[in-house]
Amino acid sequence: MSNNTTHTLQFVPGTEFKRRAAEVVANPFLRKSFRGAMDFLMMKRAAQFPDPELLERQRDLAEHIRRYSLSKLPQLLEQLEANLTRNGVTVHWAETPDEANAIILDICRRHDTKLMVKGKSMVSEEVELNHAMHAAGIDALESDMGEYIVQLADEKPSHIIMPAIHKTKQQIAELFAAKVPGVSYTEDVDALIQIGRDVLRKKFMEAEVGLSGVNFAVAETGTLCLVENEGNGRMCTTVPNVHIAITGIEKVVEKLEHVVPLYGLLTRSATGQAITTYFNVITGPRREGEKDGPKEMHLVLVDNGRTQAFADEQLRQTLQCIRCGACMNHCPVYTRIGGHAYGTTYPGPIGKIVSPHMMGLAATHVLPGASTLCGACGEVCPVKIPIPDLLIRLREEATHDAKPGHAPLVGQGAGKTAFASFAFKGFAFLYSRPALYRLFTWTATRFRFLTPAKQAGWTDTRTPLTPAAKSLRDLLAERQNRR
């Protein structure tokens, strides 16, 4: 059996999710490797939070900070823009992925560049920047090791923090030997990293433009904070003449002090590290007299559905996310199917609640339903997003028209099926009429021999659900009579 996920990168989660999930579930190699990786990450996180009460206090605080920031989002964005502008950073706004790509392409064209080096940015994945650059003849090269590997393999990240978590070192060894000129097969991780380092260092030197994401944008000072271990982010933001940062409009906080608790929880929740190697605090391009740093700096602020989530008080909580990935590390569904099966930039629980705003419910309505609502995600989320509640809410929006007075979500009601509405109408009809319900149980128990031996989806791996010979109320009635 192949130990590769063969999924290419077409974003059609609605139609393909089930098939892709089934494929991974049936692959014992992938199952074992995802399980191992997630166990490792869960253990590392747990080791960072030995005191559950302290963790609760930290989460309360982080939630407070994120909710506060969102509660004055328009003001903070204005303040951020003004301060960045004062610091010499050009601020751009994009409602859609196309607009974001056009802005970035335009900057690249003005600098007549053929090469852009990229630090890790999930928003750039979200807008499919690499694709747009490639179409325009610009090489957008990923430089985070995981992203580099995934790009070399012509794939997409399967995890927001560990993009190549679906690959083994043997696969990476084969990939490097096949794709990097002059490299022979080695499984030695240090040697593999050295290969990546050598290739990419040359590119950092050559590239005219560096692109990065942003972990936190500080309104009061006009500052962008980037969190990383490798140093490629610093390379991209420091070496090329032009630095373009791209991020979602929700990433802004008011003050640098507000970042501190968030940063502490981000790294501990994500990979179980107390801190990353680098915390890169950027407050503008090279100033007069400075000897390095980019000469020109841009920030692209992307909406892409975030304003839709923002419009509703409950759905707004989605935007509290600091993209730590803990929800996917702890998700029993993600552990079984990995990231690619989702077909969305953001996989796992956060993907299920944020993708409907980015891609519309028509393409994504299956995803909120693909959860047991076990609550593991909400339990670990450092900013306390009630993910299960949001999943239920999106299930409702996916299967109903918008409520009167509420603007419809994109793709509102796209998951409606006559069968499901009928079934739940039937459920409500039956279970809200006690006498009818009693008749039903009476019939179901008496005619239990009629229970179908095949029950869609259930009986492939389980024995059929068969009513008992006597219901509890029958048993109680009998007991009453005996007395």
């Binding site: 693909a370 076990c374 609550g375 239920i392 989806g457 009513p467 008992a468 109680l476």
Partner: protein, 258 residues
């Protein structure tokens, strides 16, 4: 958040809310739970008109339908007695989600709030309110325990069940790997995503069996049917039992706790 039991007195009467799964698919478990309560000298009232907590519709996004069903249950418990539910996830539905479900209607909301305060999962009620003093009867048994996720996260059921089994003396509770992980039931999830659900149920069944226990226990009908049905399909001799039935058949009461 830790529930405060300080104001809850030992009652003479309780209501029993069986849940639709127990009523129809594992009625003995309901019967055994009732007998356990009665063994404590408590009168158990079974409102005839009870049906289902409404959870299947609620979690599927059919809030109106869930409300229609839940509204009937709201009217079933006129006296101020505790409502005992032998299933953590249904208990959690009433305790945590009814108030949200009725947020739009002040009168019903007040009712839902009041009900929420007196809903107890079965083991929670034994341990926290009755503070039962039981001991095991018969030979020593090795068991494994699975608690439903919503019961665990919304009701703390895993702790109560552990405490209860811990006091029996002749029951050895064996821990399984990935104990807090979901068994893959998730109501309609099992039917909507059968492959993922089956993978989760299979892993859970393996983990429980690998402990070397003689059987596994669960206080939640849905999980029980899911895991036990998986084992039955495999024709495995390792099987599950509802915690209430296990307790009824394997314990005796030792009078009041000091």
């Amino acid at each position: 958040m830790e529930r405060d039991y300080s104001a809850v007195r030992r009652p003479d009467d309780v209501y029993f809310f069986a849940t639709c799964l127990v009523d129809l698919f594992c009625p003995e478990a309901g019967m055994d739970a009732i007998q356990l309560l009665e063994r404590e000298g408590i009168r158990v009232h079974f409102p005839e008109d009870q049906t289902c907590c409404g959870q299947p519709a609620y979690t599927s996004g059919y809030a109106d339908e869930a409300r229609a069903v839940a509204k009937v249950q709201l009217g079933l418990f006129p006296n101020d007695w505790p409502v005992i539910v032998p299933s953590g996830s249904c208990g959690g539905m009433i305790r945590h989600h009814y108030p949200k479900l009725f947020a739009g209607d002040a009168a019903l909301k007040a009712k839902a709030d009041a009900l929420s305060e007196r809903v107890f999962e079965l083991t929670e009620f034994f341990v926290k309110v009755l503070k039962v003093n039981w001991k095991g009867s018969g030979a020593t048994k090795k068991v494994a325990l699975h608690t439903s996720c919503s019961a665990r996260r919304e009701m703390g059921t895993h702790l109560h069940a552990r405490e209860l089994l811990g006091q029996l003396g002749n029951v050895e509770l064996l821990n399984h790997s990935h104990e807090s992980e979901c068994c893959g039931f998730g109501g309609t999830f099992a039917v909507r995503q059968p492959d993922i659900s089956a993978a989760m149920a299979g892993d859970k069944a393996d983990a429980l069996k690998e402990t070397g226990a003689e059987q596994f226990l669960s206080a939640d009908g849905g999980c029980l049917m899911n895991i036990d049905g998986t084992l039955a399909k495999r024709r495995d001799s390792f099987r599950g039992q509802h915690l209430a039935s296990f307790l009824w058949h394997n314990t005796e009461r030792q009078g009041e706790k000091a």
